[in-house]
């Protein structure tokens, strides 16, 4: 493991019980993700890429093998400790944005900071700044329902950036957007990557792969090729 490695998967297997049979969603995956990487995890639906995202994002534990986050095996943490670490080190962006509909853009962005115990004034200040950065400085008081899809995803990206994490993990971030808006969102990711953020993008869309510095193709729970 190199000194720049942020996330490392070692022979990770993830099994699910489906009725009487066991499905191996991941079947011996090993990879390293380094600081500053722009990685696209590419695979068709059912390939295990969502499971892969859960592993990389420390949202779930492996059935076999180990996952290291900043050199620490995530199995050593309690659920709550892991949640705290996630909140600090990884920012999540989802296909369906997953914003809380009753909270304004700013309040949504402030949520990760709440769970890290950041004070209210600091939260408002930071949240407003980040929303400005993603081009939504004028819409901080709007509810998600009053925003377009692209704007919502920008709010979600701002939320992912709230605690200034090293890694942004995005699951089909353009999947619910038209292609023009999708491109704008991708631009944000590439810009963030240029500023030093590690970007991990999970998608089935080959077109997005061109942004990647490294592509992890996944099929039937195995990594096909690392390029």
């Amino acid at each position: 493991m190199g000194k720049n490695t942020i996330i490392e998967l070692k022979n990770v297997e993830k099994h699910y019980q489906m009725g009487d049979s066991i499905i191996k969603a991941l079947d011996g995956v090993s990879t390293e993700i380094n600081k500053g990487d722009f990685i696209v995890i590419l695979g068709p639906s059912g390939s295990g890429k969502s499971t892969m995202m859960n592993m990389v994002g420390a949202l779930d534990l492996a059935t076999k093998g180990s996952i290291y986050l900043d050199g620490e095996n995530i199995e050593n943490f309690t659920e709550s400790e892991l949640a705290q670490i996630r909140g600090r080190k990884i920012g999540f962006v989802f296909q369906t944005f997953n914003l809380i509909p009753t909270l304004t853009a700013l309040e949504n962005v402030m949520i990760p900071m709440i769970f890290q115990g950041v004070e209210t004034e600091k939260r408002i200040e930071k949240g407003t700044k980040i929303l400005k950065k993603v081009g939504l400085g004028h819409r901080t008081g709007h509810l998600p329902g009053e925003l377009s899809g692209g704007e919502r995803q920008r709010v979600a990206i701002a939320r992912a950036l709230a605690n200034n994490p090293d890694v942004i993990l995005a699951d089909e971030p353009t999947g619910n957007l038209d292609s023009k808006t999708g491109k704008e969102i991708m631009k944000i990711f590439t810009d963030l990557n240029k500023k030093g953020k590690t970007i991990i993008l999970v998608t089935h869309d080959l077109a997005l792969a061109k942004h990647a510095k490294k592509i992890l193709k996944i099929k039937d729970g195995r990594l096909e090729k690392q390029s």
């Binding site: 969502s50 949640a83 600090r88």
Partner: protein, 403 residues
């Protein structure tokens, strides 16, 4: 914590109708409890005041009867002058006097009213010296030499019994005999007393041709004697004289404490039954909150997953949901308190204005209000424990997969 509360609150706003329906289940119960307890408190205060007025050293001896005062007609049942003598001479009794009551028609010019006419003596009035029962707010009390004077209840002068106004100096007629009003009694807060009139006892005896009956006898214990012991002694003595078996007496002997205790007990039982019913509705309300919260957890599974992904600890989720259900309870409680206060005050109004009693005063102490609010928050939070634990224990990866 403040932030968890805020998040909980926003969640409630989202499902307004459902939140209100859930709250409805709680506030009906709380309203019932609050109005009953406030009225109960009022009644308790009333009882305490009565006790104070009556004095702890009093023993009341009356014929066993189920009708209103004065309805005892059977010669066997009445207390007579012999009984009064026995009681007056009993060791430890400082003094004892009787009050005789008859229902009678009184006339004021062309008008007629049927009221209770009490026959009292100076000695009887002195038994209650200093008490509201015998206080006159105008004029003077009855004297033993007053064979054509009367002291009237409050309502005769200040109530709406008569078209033709009465006051001190006016006169009324009983069975054709004229009585001058020399005093007005203080308001007692119940129509029986406030509509009654007092005349001298022997005069009443003559007018209504009452033999040696003594009505209700009130004895005052000497200081330094145990009132309960004297009461028991009087009971035994009277039983012996009347040659009656224990448990088959035609009279009752009660200390003022026992008298009020009987009153209190009946009232406590009634209150317990009603509060019990209210408690059932609170349990149902609590189940309603639980149901709402389970639905809420199910609906917001993905949101819970998202919050966990962005750093929410299990305890964060637990508190958000507990506050949410607690808030449902608390808001229900606050509305319930307001509604309960309204019901309590309405009952008080009806009792006071329509029935002319002041037994039922609704009393809202801050203990009742704070207590009811705390209680409703706790019901809400308790009902939310299981759903909140379910929410807190969701695995983030699975929760995020939820549609």
């Amino acid at each position: 914590m403040k932030n968890h509360l805020f998040l909980a609150f926003t969640n409630l706003k989202r499902r307004k109708l459902r939140s209100w329906l859930t709250i409805l289940g709680i506030f009906i119960g709380i309203a019932a409890v609050v109005s009953l307890i406030s009225l109960g408190q009022g009644l308790q205060n009333f009882i305490d005041t009565q006790f104070e007025q009556l004095g702890a050293d009093k023993i009341i001896i009356e014929p066993e009867s189920f009708g209103p005062p004065g309805s005892v007609s059977d010669e066997q049942l009445i207390l007579d002058d012999g009984d009064l003598k026995t009681i007056q001479n009993f060791r430890g009794v400082e003094s004892a006097e009787s009050i005789l009551t008859r229902t009678g028609v009184i006339e004021n010019k062309k008008e007629q009213e049927v009221v209770f006419i009490n026959g009292v003596s100076e000695e009887y009035i002195n038994l209650f010296d200093g008490s509201d029962f015998v206080e006159v707010i105008e004029g003077r009390q009855i004297k033993n030499s007053d064979n054509s004077k009367t002291v009237v209840g409050y309502n005769h002068v200040y109530g709406n019994i008569w078209e033709n106004e009465l006051r001190v100096g006016s006169s009324i007629e009983i069975k054709g005999k004229k009585f001058d009003i020399v005093g007005v009694l203080r308001k007692q807060g119940n129509p029986f007393d406030d509509n009654s009139i007092w005349i001298e006892k022997e005069t009443l005896r003559n007018i209504f041709e009452i033999g040696n009956e003594e009505g209700i006898i009130v004895a005052k214990a000497d200081s330094g004697f145990d009132v309960e012991v004297i009461a028991e002694g009087i009971r035994n003595e009277l039983r012996n004289e009347k040659d009656q078996e224990e448990g088959e007496e035609t009279f009752s002997v009660q200390t003022s404490a026992q008298l009020l205790e009987t009153f209190s007990t009946i009232f406590t039982v009634i209150q317990a039954v009603f509060v019990g019913i209210a408690a059932i509705s609170l349990v149902v309300g609590g189940i309603g909150i639980m149901n709402t919260m389970y639905t809420s957890v199910l609906e917001r599974t993905k949101e819970i997953g998202t919050m966990k992904a962005v750093g929410a600890k299990n305890s964060d989720i637990l508190f958000i949901f507990l506050f949410e259900s607690g808030l449902l309870g608390l808001v229900g409680g606050i509305i319930g308190i307001l509604l309960g206060a309204g019901i309590g005050k309405s009952v008080e109004y009806v009792a006071t204005v329509q029935l002319g009693t002041n037994y039922l005063q609704a009393i809202f102490g801050w203990q009742l209000i704070i207590g009811a609010m705390t209680f409703s928050f706790i019901i809400g939070a308790l009902s939310g424990v299981l759903p909140a634990m379910q929410a807190a224990s969701l695995k983030p990866a699975e929760a995020l997969r939820h549609a």
